[in-house]
């Protein structure tokens, strides 16, 4: 079996999120490249990948010296609506099974797209909790998803700033489109560095945990 080249192929690069993104050329992603480069400044970064396993991505980052954690986390169910005058039914709080301030970089790919709007703040707070001061969060979020159901995809890193989106197996779940302001509100514990809308209607979000340290 031939080894997969880590060098970007010349020629057009298909957009992430579309069927053509399966092409080997990959999709350029500058913000991701910057986030990874910054994470590796710490020597041996702790990186958390939330979502389906892509073995090559894990090995790519671990091979560069990171300690890579993988968590195929289940996103929370929507909180039931609260009826006026009634005690809201108990909802199991969302939590990440990871230590506080443990990570230099969290890659959440399209994870937030599968979080119900009324649980988004909770999930954002958990991500902020596990990040170290100066740690970064990288997220993709659909602006116009192809359907309202889907399975969280895998993202294959071909280089720091070059990725391929791949469909993964699983039970389709409801997909949500969160307005930018809701995402920024959910990531209140982080400083959103930028939200870039790409041509394929995918938003690239980079945030970092500010503070002394």
């Amino acid at each position: 079996m031939a080894f997969r080249s880590r060098t970007p192929e010349p020629g057009p690069r298909p957009a992430a999120g579309g069927a053509s993104s399966q092409a080997a050329a990959g999709h350029p992603c500058g913000a991701l490249g910057r986030a990874i480069a910054r994470a590796f400044r710490s020597g041996k970064p702790e990186i958390l990948i939330l979502g389906p396993l892509c073995g090559e991505t894990v090995v790519y980052l671990a091979g560069r010296g990171a300690r890579v954690h993988v968590d195929p986390v289940d996103m929370p169910e929507p909180a039931p609506p609260r009826a006026a005058g009634e005690t809201p039914p108990p909802v199991e709080p969302f939590s990440l099974d990871h230590g506080t301030a443990a990570y230099d970089l969290v890659l959440a790919w399209e994870t937030l797209d599968f979080v119900p709007p009324n649980r988004l703040v909770e999930v954002g707070a958990e991500i902020a909790r596990v990040l170290r001061t100066g740690g970064q969060l990288f997220v993709f979020a659909h602006q116009k998803p192809p359907s309202d159901q889907g399975v969280p995809p895998r993202y294959r890193l071909l280089a720091d700033d070059l990725i391929v989106r791949e469909e993964s197996e699983g039970t389709p779940r409801r997909r949500y489109v969160h307005p930018n302001r809701d995402i920024e509100r959910a990531l209140a514990g982080l400083a959103v560095q930028g939200i870039q809308l790409q041509r394929n209607q995918m938003r690239e979000i980079l945030a970092s945990k500010a503070g002394v340290g």
């Binding site: 079996m1 396993l53 073995g55 090559e56 671990a62 091979g63 010296g65 300690r67 993988v70 791949e166």
Partner: protein, 140 residues
């Protein structure tokens, strides 16, 4: 060719398993598996709740526990691993179920939970997904 010992599907071992030959586990093991300089295969029916140290480890079944290998750890598409991996070479097939951490630094096997060391000078080796191994040998 060396004979590969097979712990059959009906065998359930609790405690520490050590050896100086290659081993395939199709049964259940709770405890510790130490195969210095030898290869361990957890077969598709194998279920381990154990700390594992070996030269190479191939996971086709289910493992809960940390794995430390001197050479390589491979989790096949049918494999499930809940635990950390420390090995210079790691292969995770798409479709494999994995929750844990991976550290590919070359260093003495001090336990898979070791962390926060500086990256080594020697680079780990990446392998194509799907590089398989074969199961051979006789049952006990």
């Amino acid at each position: 060719m060396d004979k590969i010992v097979n712990i059959g599907q009906s065998i359930h071992i609790k405690g520490e398993l050590t050896g100086n030959e290659d081993l395939t586990i199709e049964g259940k093991v709770d405890g510790k598996v130490l195969l210095k300089d030898h290869n361990l295969t957890i077969g598709a029916n194998g279920k381990l709740v154990a700390e594992i140290q070996a030269k190479t480890v191939m996971v086709l079944g289910e493992v809960t526990g940390n794995i430390s290998a001197d050479d390589k750890v491979e989790v096949a598409a049918s494999g499930t691993l809940r635990g950390d991996i420390v090995a210079p070479r790691v292969v995770l097939a798409d479709g494999a179920k994995f929750k844990g951490a991976i550290d590919m630094d070359r260093k003495p096997a001090a336990g898979a939970s070791a962390s926060h060391s500086s990256p080594s000078a020697s680079r780990p080796v990446m392998e194509p997904v799907g590089a398989g191994s074969s199961l051979k040998g006789a049952n006990l």
